[in-house]
């Protein structure tokens, strides 16, 4: 809220109103949160099977973009190789279901862990690289993994693997798994970014040398970030395999995964925790609405990406916040001028809530 002192004085009543609203914001937030958790948790009660599938896919998009954003946005490491972890997760759960008698949930966790282990290895290899070099290096790794999987007979080479029919979960179970994963991912990343660890991560992104001179060892920070990011992507990969029941290298390790993550994050807002969620909704809606004309869909996606990067490079979420704040301020000042603070619309209230949290939106 950047009202200058002078104007603040002039707009005293509205500003007071505004401030008291801001003070209410956390409670409002809790309230909305509670309602939403309830709404989402009860999804299967009022959603059709198809809606559940849609939500499942959307949640996975959100999870993957959120995880990519941890490394690419907060960490400043523009990975083009995250498809590797989707594939690793998918294959791990398939192999475990086929060859081990472990319970399904454990298999799922293991698929995330294997992706994280691979990521640790990748991070060790790519640690020294920055900017374009890192991007190309990560892409190279993902492509090497894909070509390896195309030839590995243990995982069925190009034919891939088919999950045992016994592993077939009903759609509401899948929905809950994806929802749980999304909530876990988002919470973990939000908390992480706010922790000392997150501070170190962002410091490295902003200026690695300066950070080192303030005692930040970039090595473990990058390593752990890479691993966490891959862990959740790997879990999402496992869920995707559970839904598809059939996996093969070209689609499990498809470049499209990382492309999707990047597009979603950029559209929604890189290095914000809400951006990937919003971006996923926009991207997914576009995809669903235009699924009869794939060409138009990808054309629009490409154009949207170019438009965003050209006109609002921070992404839609920060843009929405900015516009919201401006609208809110305009409303407050108008209300104040007319002297009627009684007609406080719900819209203005919401803008106040949003506007308030911009400053903290890393």
């Amino acid at each position: 809220m950047k009202t200058s002192p002078a104007s603040a004085a002039r707009l005293a009543p509205a500003a007071t109103w505004w401030r008291s609203l801001s003070r209410l914001a956390p409670w409002l937030g809790w309230g909305v949160l509670g309602v939403l958790v309830l709404l989402a948790a009860l999804g299967p009660l009022y959603l059709s099977a198809f809606d559940l599938v849609l939500a499942f896919t959307l949640f996975n998009y959100m999870t993957m973009a959120q995880s990519w954003n941890l490394l690419g946005g907060y960490g400043g490491q523009f990975s083009l190789g995250h498809s590797l972890f989707v594939g690793a997760g998918s294959y791990t759960i398939a192999v475990l279901l086929l060859h081990s008698g472990l319970p399904l949930l454990l298999d799922l966790v293991l698929s995330g862990l294997l992706a994280a282990a691979l990521a640790t290895l990748a991070a060790l290899l790519l640690m020294r690289l920055r900017e374009a070099y890192f991007s190309i290096g990560s892409l190279g790794l993902a492509m090497a993994a894909l070509t390896w999987m195309l030839n590995w007979s243990f995982t069925g080479a190009t034919s891939g693997l088919n999950l045992p029919p016994a592993a077939t979960l009903d759609y509401s179970t899948l929905y809950y798994l994806a929802l749980g994963l999304l909530v876990a991912t988002t919470l973990t990343i939000v908390l992480l970014v706010r922790s000392p660890f997150g501070l170190r991560l962002m410091a490295i992104r902003d200026d690695q040398e300066a950070a080192a001179e303030l005692g930040v060892n970039s090595f473990p920070v990058k390593l752990v970030t890479f691993a966490i990011s891959a862990f959740f992507v790997g879990l999402a990969g496992g869920l995707i395999a559970l839904n598809k029941l059939e996996i093969e290298p070209d689609s499990a390790f498809s470049m499209n995964w990382v492309i999707t993550m990047i597009i979603i994050t950029i559209i929604g807002g890189i290095a914000t925790s809400t951006g990937p969620l919003l971006g996923a909704v926009v991207f997914f809606t576009l995809q669903q609405v235009l699924q009869n004309s794939q060409a138009l869909s990808s054309l629009l996606t490409g154009l949207l990406l170019i438009l965003i990067i050209r006109l609002a490079p921070e992404g839609l979420w920060p843009l929405a916040l900015k516009l919201g704040r401006r609208l809110g301020e305009a409303l407050v000042s108008r209300l104040d001028r007319s002297g009627s603070t009684t007609t406080a619309t719900a819209l203005a209230a919401e803008e106040a809530v949003r506007g308030r949290s911009t400053l903290s939106d890393g």
Partner: protein, 289 residues
């Protein structure tokens, strides 16, 4: 047989040089990775295809028109889209060229359909005997073109005022501007030049193999390997890198089997990046002699 792989890989490498040269130029001068390089190549191939089927001229002759058109397209894209983004850093440019990739891929499909097309000319179906082994004539042409392009680009950068301006802008845009060099214009020209050079690479792809709307990305990956090996942005490095990758691919394919060819190439890409990110040969275009 080993000799054959060496020879064939060497000539094939010439083709790789022509496809990677545009990427090198753009990275060397603007420090930008053009993710749409594959689409520049394929787009040129489509243009040549259109022109060749309209005029029934030889595809290589069509280049005389296609290269200038690609130059103009590249110039406009740089000036209108990329140039304003330069101050915002590499990531932004990466995303922008990525958007271009998506748009171009779709447009190709919409305009030309999804079938694999290829350019035909008599020399795509003939071979040349070298050291007792037959090599496709088109590869020999590609190698000659590669040498011609690298030497030509080198001469341009070294001796022509424009080339010197490009190198100056690459090394220090601020200093270049203050001695009268129009840096955005130079960047635009460089991008256009890269696109024009890629027109040669694209047409050679169309002649040697085939192309469809989505073939671009595999050529982008190939180009990455070449320029990483040669040292990102180095002109002579690209020449050596291209030839080396060609030979490596063929020899590796013959030793461990063609199905592992890509695995070896990508593993090599990663290893080179890790061991020597600056590549093995020389420096950036802008600052290389």
């Amino acid at each position: 047989m080993v000799l054959y792989h060496l020879i064939d890989g060497f000539f094939l490498g010439g083709l790789y040089v022509t496809i990677a040269l545009g990427l090198t130029l753009v990275f060397g001068v603007m420090n930008t990775v053009n993710l749409a390089q594959g689409e520049v190549l394929i787009g040129s191939a489509y243009l040549t295809y259109t022109l060749a089927s309209l005029t029934h001229l030889d595809p290589l002759l069509c280049l005389l028109l296609v290269a200038p058109i690609m130059f103009v397209i590249g110039y406009l894209v740089q000036r209108l889209l990329l140039n304003p983004l330069i101050p915002r850093g590499q990531e932004t440019l990466l995303v922008a060229t990525f958007g271009l990739l998506l748009v171009a891929e779709t447009l190709f499909g919409l305009i030309y359909g999804n079938n694999t097309l290829s350019l035909s000319a008599s020399y795509t179906l003939t071979g040349v005997t070298i050291f007792g082994d037959t090599v496709r004539t088109i590869y020999v042409i590609a190698l000659v073109a590669a040498l011609f392009l690298v030497v030509g680009t080198h001469l341009l950068l070294t001796y022509l005022p424009l080339g010197k301006a490009i190198r100056a802008a690459a090394e220090d845009p601020g200093a270049a501007a203050s001695i009268g060099i129009n840096v955005p214009l130079v960047y635009g020209i460089t991008f256009g030049l890269a696109a024009a050079i890629s027109a040669v690479g694209g047409t050679l792809i169309g002649l040697s193999f085939g192309f469809g709307p989505t073939t671009g990305s595999s050529w982008l990956l190939r180009s990455f390997t070449v320029i990483v090996l040669g040292g990102m942005g180095s002109l002579w490095g690209t020449l050596l890198g291209g030839l080396l990758i060609g030979v490596l691919e063929e020899v590796a394919a013959s030793i461990v089997g063609p199905q592992f060819r890509d695995l070896i190439v990508f593993a090599f890409l990663v290893i080179v990046l890790i061991v020597r990110p600056e590549g093995f040969f020389g420096q950036r275009v802008g600052v290389a002699k």
